[in-house]
Structures are given as structure tokens and as C-alpha cells.
């Protein structure tokens, strides 16, 4: 399914038709770079000076391209759908072909950048436990204090993290019971969604 672009967006992108092959390539590369790193306004004025146009025109064209590539990647558009999306822009075949080639080659990296934007919670990787009994400390001798150390290994956007927490026997038993209940709910929700799908 092609995506529809609003009139303003179409107008901004129509400037691409005025560019030669190398300038179009530069605009595309800049827009892809900006999707990942954010906008650098200085680039607009430099490019505008080179082309002898208003910096606002360059800004709109680059940001229009960013939006086009980001939206098409977000909806996972295939080659045919991407070209259909470009039809209302009235671009030349050569420009459309160039944009398609670039979209195909950069799709994976744009997709990866967009994935990073999803607010994510660290994912559980594994757990190690240890059961200690504290028998004395500097401030208190002759004590018997059971301590359960839990070392959590997590994965947060590809980065491994570790965290050591501790608990006591009664909280450990409560925690285990609560998570067992969660597991049963998760397993039953799986079977329900399997039926629904």
C-alpha cells in the first residue's frame, strides 16, 4: 500500500527535480544522516549558498526527504509501493529511480534507527542467586541474618547490564509466588491469543 503525501510535502519535494544527479545524491545522504543524528542547520546554509537558493528551500527539501524515507521505512514499503508513493510528485524517471535505489540500500539502517526510538525497558537475560547468612558485622556481632543475593543480567538495546539486589526469605517466597502467578497468566494469554490469531 502506497502512502499519501500532503500538498505541502509534495511542494517541498518538487525542488528535487531542479537538482543534478550529484546534488540529489548529497541531499539524500544528508537527509538519511539527519534521521539518525538530528538536524544540523549549518548544512542548509552551506548547501543553499552553493546552489544559490534560499536556505529555507533546502531545509524543506531535506526534511521532506527525511520524512519520506522515514515514513516509507516505518510502513515497510516494498519497491512497487515506494514508486507508487512517488507518482504524485511528478518527478522524472531518473530521479525516482535514484530515490528508489537509495531507499533500498538504506532501508535497513533507517529501520534500525527507528527501532531505537521505541521507548524500551531492559529485557531479562538470566539470573544468578546466592544464599548467605550474615553472622557478624562491625556494628553487630552474634547475629543470624539470612540474605539472598540476586544478580540480574539484562539486555538494554543490545547493551548487557548487570544488577545485584538482595532480599530476605519471606520476600523471596512472596516474589517467587507472584512471578509464578505472572507466568501462568502469560502462558494462558499466549494460548488465548493463539486462538484469536
Amino acid at each position: 500500500m502506497a502512502i499519501s503525501l500532503d500538498d505541502k510535502h509534495k511542494e517541498h519535494l518538487s525542488f528535487l527535480e531542479n537538482l543534478d544527479q550529484s546534488a540529489l545524491e548529497d541531499f539524500c545522504m544528508i537527509s538519511i544522516e539527519f534521521i539518525g543524528r538530528g538536524v544540523n542547520k549549518k548544512v542548509y546554509s552551506t548547501a543553499a549558498q552553493k546552489l544559490g537558493v534560499d536556505p529555507e528551500i533546502v531545509k524543506h527539501a531535506v526534511e521532506g526527504l527525511m520524512y519520506l524515507f522515514a515514513k516509507c521505512s516505518k510502513y515497510n514499503l516494498q519497491e512497487k509501493e515506494f514508486l507508487e508513493t512517488l507518482i504524485p510528485l511528478n518527478l522524472s524517471e531518473k530521479t525516482k529511480e535514484h530515490l528508489l535505489e537509495l531507499y533500498k540500500s538504506k532501508y535497513a539502517s533507517i529501520h534500525a534507527q527507528l527501532t531505537e526510538l521505541i521507548p524500551s525497558i531492559p529485557a531479562y537475560s538470566k539470573l544468578e542467586w546466592r544464599f548467605d547468612i550474615e553472622i557478624a558485622s562491625r556494628s553487630l556481632r552474634k547475629q543470624v541474618q539470612p540474605v539472598i543475593l540476586l544478580k540480574f543480567y539484562l539486555n538494554h538495546n543490545g547493551v548487557e547490564e548487570e544488577r545485584i539486589l538482595q532480599t530476605d526469605p519471606s520476600n523471596l517466597i512472596r516474589l517467587t509466588a507472584k512471578l509464578e502467578e505472572a507466568l501462568h497468566s502469560l502462558q494462558s494469554s499466549h494460548s488465548k491469543s493463539d486462538v484469536a490469531i
Binding site: T115, P122, L175, Q187, S189
Partner: protein, 191 residues
Amino acid sequence: MAQLSEKAAIGLAKVSALKDIAVKSITHTAFQQILDCSRILSYSEYSEFQDIERSDLEQCFLGLTSFILEVCKNDLSEDLIRCYLIEDYKWTDDRTVSFLNKLKNYKQKIRARLSCITWQHPHIIDSSWKLNINAQSQSLNAPQAECIVKLQLEDCSEKDNFSFRCDTNSLQDMVLKLKECSRSVTNYGSE
């Protein structure tokens, strides 16, 4: 028992020279002060302390609080305490018995407070969970259920609590390990 500092030992010995009413009051104040450090101690509030030199009073107080803390820290037996007070610090038998009765009331509370003076890893005191269906994202085509686990930590604000997500396999892994751990703790307790 760890030795008291010289100043504290002298202070504890000086208690024996105080009047009964002053000993009773200073002992009570020492126990109260240990349990509530935020309390501002004002000797002038006590009429029974009026005829005692301020420096002597402070030294007695230091000796008494140091002794109570050492006794509680080391969980000393009554016989040993009696021996220290009567033989080393020349306390009378009556005062020693009265001190031991007071100690009996406060000892567990003081030991509980002393046990807090330590370092520890963040302590899990509660947990909660919710199931989410990740219905749409850039990387997933089909809805996927996941469990968000939140561990509530002692003395931590809401934002510092510990959260992570699990799919069925990882939650199963965690529950298995926690059950294994719980079994070990229970078995140890019943041995």
C-alpha cells in the same frame, strides 16, 4: 567484649558515685537517646542532675551509652555484664539488677538498630507485574505478549525501582531459579 575508651570507662565508674535517683534517670535517658538519636539531650531539664558537675555528667552519660552499645553489639550474657559492672566499675548489686532489667526491655530494639548500620545491596521488599501485548512496532509483525516485572526496593523512590521485561521463556527461567533458591532457603531453615 571490646574495651571501652578510657574516657568512657572512667565515666561508667563515676556512675557508681551518683545518687540512686540520678542513676535511674541517666540510665533511662541513655537508652532513650540510643534509640532516638534525633532527640536533643538537655541536662538542665532534669532536676536530679542539678547538683552534678556538667563535665562529670557528660562523662557518665558517655560511659553508660558506650557500655550499652558494646553490650548489645556483642550480645553479652547477664552474668558477664554483672561481673563487669560490679567488679570493674564498682556498681552496687541493686543498680546492676535495675540496669539488667532495663536492658532486657531495650536490647532487641537496640540490636535491630545496630543491624541497620551496615552496607547492603538494594533490598527487594515487594514486586508487581503486568502483561502487555506489544501490538505494533517497527520490528514486530505479530502481536507478542510480554511481562513487565517491577521490583520495589527499600528506601527507593518510584523512579528508582527496578523494572524489566520478560517473554514466556525468560519468565519461566527466572521463576525456576527463584523456586530453586526458595527451596534451598527453606531446606536450610528446616535442617
